[in-house]
């Protein structure tokens, strides 16, 4: 390794066309040609897809043939492709940290599609910056961190219960914490499940039993999360149960905190009239049994209004809540079953009965004579009081072009699921983000649906967004798989980007210690020391150190300065540019 540092940099540059994603805007051959003229660049070539097996082979071949010791790939964002190219370097015997990505797609070709000439110039600059930085790159060693084989599952609804059980069955220890005195979450409020028509309480009961009796699961109810410190494999968890702190270690953390139903205050007379309920209100009424409802009243005409407080113009509730249409269909059918002479209307915008079972159910509801009336956002239904507790619902049937007045004795509002109140706090404790919709934001919408950017923390169920029980349970199993990975291996590799203190320069001023939010700096015997496992590599300390004693691995001052100096070719626009790249120094 030491030899590498002395060795003169020999950089290989690989410029990707990415089909036409880059090549359609940026003149790739020009960039390649230009790269060949850069200092320390020993080799440059263009590839149709550098990420293809062919591209990877080409990198490996070039490393061998041209004795390269630094690699720059000019293609897309390092956020997705760095691991792949680093892997190629490793295969060819080059330390992965001697690799640099020049992002000429997301931050060049895709944002300058109509300015090909300028984009090409910019791409050259970006490649130049990357090559300059590459000259200063140093090999780094990744280290392994042991992983505690215990999982913390936050939230004791059906998602949390399912993932706890799945992990426990695989032999991992699980702490399942629930803020309420009882497990069960939203399911406790629900009457029947769709599309299987089972009693929610029965289903729940069986799962709760299994959790309570499992030897690998510790259930803590009436418990909240107070602090989670540490990192994957080594989380130090502090929870509060009855104002008493409990501490334990966990290797992974699963968020399964669920969601709550939106209360439609000031909408459709929800606060004004007793006969306006939400779907969850209705579930609870139904749960009391038919006889009890009979005493209350026998519905003749019921209207259910969809998308109340959902699909709004602006966030946070600009989303479709996914399951309300099916809930309405389910409850409408139930009411028709109990009161066959009643008329039940579902007043909807777009029936979201996707997939197979729901579409089947939707068809059955139509067959059963549930009446569907389409309304548009511009023409929402109006509620007005009538004598005898009845309500007049005026609705414009958008597809028929006719106004209808329904004399209702019950109006049910289908409102969306929204995030729990405590989610913001939890997101801060765990340092994981919430999205615009206030639900937890996963690492990648498409391919990492239950992961966070932060390793070792996962999300499932409605904490991630509205979904039905089957989908929540699928996710609950999914997080179990994701969390089981590092725990089964009992170790993870961590990145090598940490702070290093130059003991010679350090005067022990404690600036870094005070600044570091992770407690990674400890001043002992007048000098600062970095605890690598705690250091997250942000570099706040390095920027603050008056003595310039702190260096950030892989983001050293030299490396950043090299980029600053090569960002633009610094000479007058006239006369024409010379090829002096070092202009400015």
């Amino acid at each position: 390794m030491a030899e590498l540092q002395i060795e003169k940099p020999r950089i290989g540059v690989f410029v990707c066309h990415c089909g036409i994603n880059i090549g359609g805007v940026v003149n790739v051959p020009q960039v390649v040609k230009y790269a060949q003229t850069l200092p320390d660049v020993a080799y440059a070539e263009g590839n149709i897809y550098t990420c293809s097996a062919e591209g990877i082979d080409s990198i490996k071949r070039a490393i061998k043939e041209h004795s390269l010791n630094r690699v720059v790939v000019a293609s897309c964002t390092p956020r997705t492709h760095e691991p792949l190219f680093r892997g190629a370097c490793v295969d060819a015997g080059v330390n992965p940290y001697l690799f640099e990505l020049a992002n000429i797609r997301e931050q060049c070709s895709w944002v300058h599609m109509r300015e090909p000439t300028k984009a090409t110039e910019k791409a050259k600059d970006i490649v130049r910056m990357a090559a300059a930085r590459a000259s200063f790159l140093m090999p780094q060693q990744e280290s392994e961190v042991p992983v505690e084989t215990t999982a913390l599952v936050i939230g004791g609804g059906i998602s949390g219960i399912t993932s706890a059980l799945c992990l426990a069955n695989q032999g991992f220890k699980v702490y399942l914490i629930e803020k309420e005195p009882e497990l069960g979450g939203m399911l406790r409020k629900i009457y029947k499940l769709y599309p299987t028509d089972e009693d929610a309480s029965k289903v729940l009961h069986a799962s709760v039993e299994a959790v309570m009796s499992h030897k690998n699961i510790s259930v803590l109810t009436s418990t909240t999360t107070k602090a989670v410190n540490g990192y994957i494999g080594n989380f130090e968890v502090t929870v509060l149960k009855n104002a008493q702190e409990h501490k334990f270690k966990a290797g992974t953390v699963i968020i399964a905190t669920g969601a709550v139903e939106f209360r439609p205050t000031n909408m459709y007379g929800y606060d004004k009239y007793d006969r306006v309920l939400t779907q969850v209100d209705l579930e609870q009424v139904l749960k009391s049994g038919k006889a009890a409802v009979d005493k209350f009243f026998k519905p003749q005409t019921v209207a259910m209004i969809q998308c109340v407080g959902a699909r709004e113009e602006k966030p946070p509730r600009s989303y479709c809540s996914r399951l309300c249409c099916m809930v309405a269909v389910k409850n409408a059918m139930l009411l028709r079953e109990w009161y066959p002479s009643s008329e039940v209307y579902i007043i909807y915008q777009d029936m979201q009965t996707y997939g197979k079972d729901y579409e089947d159910h939707h068809r059955k509801a139509r067959e059963a004579g549930i009446r569907f009336i389409n309304y548009t956002k511009e023409n929402p239904p109006q509620v007005a009081p009538l004598p005898n507790d009845r309500l007049k619902l005026t609705v414009y049937h958008a597809l028929l072009g006719e106004k209808r007045e329904l004399n209702c004795d019950l109006i049910v509002l289908s409102t969306p699921l929204v995030q729990q109140e405590g989610a913001k706090e939890l997101s801060k404790i765990l340092k994981v983000p919430l999205g615009q919709d206030e639900f937890f934001l996963e690492a990648h919408v498409k391919l990492r649906p239950v992961d966070f950017a932060t390793d070792g923390i996962y999300v499932c169920g409605t904490a991630h967004g509205p979904k039905d029980i089957g989908e929540a349970i699928s996710q609950a199993y999914a997080v179990s798989s994701r969390a089981a990975g590092p725990m089964a291996n009992r170790k993870v590799r961590t990145e090598a980007i940490t702070a290093v203190v130059d003991k010679e320069r350090c005067i022990g001023c404690r600036m870094c210690e005070n600044l570091c939010p992770f407690g990674a700096h400890r001043v002992e015997e007048g000098k600062s020391t970095v605890i690598e496992a705690l250091c997250k590599g942000c570099g706040v300390c390095a920027a603050a150190c008056m003595r310039r004693a702190i260096s950030m691995k892989h983001f050293t001052d030299d490396q950043i300065m090299a980029e600053i100096k090569t960002a633009f070719i610094m000479e007058a626009p006239k006369p024409p540019a010379s090829s002096n790249l070092e202009g400015g120094t």
Binding site: R363, R366, E367, G369, R371, I373, N374, L399, L400, R404
Partner: protein, 543 residues
Amino acid sequence: MSQYEPRIVGFLCNWCGYAGADLAGTSRLSYPTNIRIIRVMCSGRVEPAFVLNAFENGADGVLVAGCHPGDCHYRSGNQHAEKRIEKTKKLLDVVGIGSDRLRLEWVSAAEGEKFASVIKDFTEKLRVKGPSWLGKEPSGASAKQSVKEPIHDILKRTKALYCQECGKCSSSCPVTRLDPLYSPRLAVEKALIGLEDDVLTDKGLWSCLTCYLCRQRCPLDIEYDELIRTCRAKAAASGIVGNCSHEGVLFSLSRLMAHPETRQNRLEWVPKEAEIAKTGEVLYFTGCLPYFNVVFDDINVSNVEIAQSMLKILNAAGIKPVLLENERCCGHDLSFAGDRQNFEKLAKMNMAAIMETHASTVVTTCPECYRTLKTDYPELLGQPKFEVLHASEFLSSLIDGGKIKFPGKLGMKVSYQDPCRLGRHMGVYDSPRKVITSIPGVELVEMNRNRESSLCCGVSAWMGCGRHSKQMQMERLAEAKGTAADLLVTACPKCQIHLNCALSEKLPVSKEEVAIQTCDLSVLVARALNLTQSSDKMEMIKK
């Protein structure tokens, strides 16, 4: 018999006949009390339907009296009357009532005496002839049998409950495209949210052609044709009827045929040399061709030619087909017009008559008879032992079996109009095409809209013929003309009637754009077999 008093309905023209009758009165001339008089402004006003309706309602005789030729207050009204009465007499002969029960007389304002004697004479003749069988049981103008099925059940049975309100039906419907007031989607949607009355009283209910295009395309297979048929029956039960074309004369005839006592003379068209049987394997169900021949004698179609051609082909193939002497209307039109009662009567009688012949195969040249016999009768009466084939299917099998062989080449391009009932309703698209293309020298050129997407000829069940029908017919004819075909072949007598009717009227466009010779499939085949003489036009096409 001694109590029998003939009931006579008299249509008198205002200027001569009625004045003559008045004169008889002022002159105190007595005549029998058997006549009831209806005043019309001109004898030319009297339609065949009036006459048939009078008989349907129990009249034993109908008298029409107008001015003498040359004296008509409206110049030539009485000449029209003469032609119409002639036509009506023919219909009365075929349907078995007999032309002698209808009498046309010229009675001037001065001929009070003549009027009285005509009445006396007609009454006596009718007394001798005896009562019309219809007098015993008037069939009535509309069926009053109520449809008990609730609208929800109808919607369920026809799958309309599944409607996704997507608009595929309405954007396919040839009527909606021309007449935005009618939309299959809106009709279903109204029914779905409980506006039943709106559906039944909507004029649109009668605009539907039941052409099946919407059902063909509906992803949920909503049986729109059936829904319309049932709703019409429901509407009819509450006294709402559609607008019948030809003043309902064809419905009258169908209802007359529904009378059990009816004895028709419907085999007049059968050529002497033809071989037919009373019982046998193959039965040829002619349909209403003998009636159409009379009603539509003025629009350049010869309907019995279809039957004659078919008969000749069958004979040429060595088949001696059974023809029913008292075959009745299949009831298709009544059924689609909401008259369930008479439809059921017809179905039962036809079925019984067919069973008596021991036929195992029933061939029809009419797609409506085909649909009715093949699906509607079995639905009502159970699956019979015989098989029903459309002429195209039967001819196709004759060709396959080598039973008929075409002697020479015809040398022409033809296009083919898919009848709704044969195509979309029954799924028969290939056989007629196969028959056409197996005639040597005949090239089939398809219109843009063909097979499943074919355009209807514009009218069905003799209802609601109007501006939009004519527009559709023009569109279709132009499409046919656009193929550069010499001949437009149809496999449905009604398609031919409707398209020819459009051509026989004043055209809204130049003749070159639309005028095309039409021809029934059986007629084409018979000519290709040299079994009938080609008309002059066919000769021209050949050249």
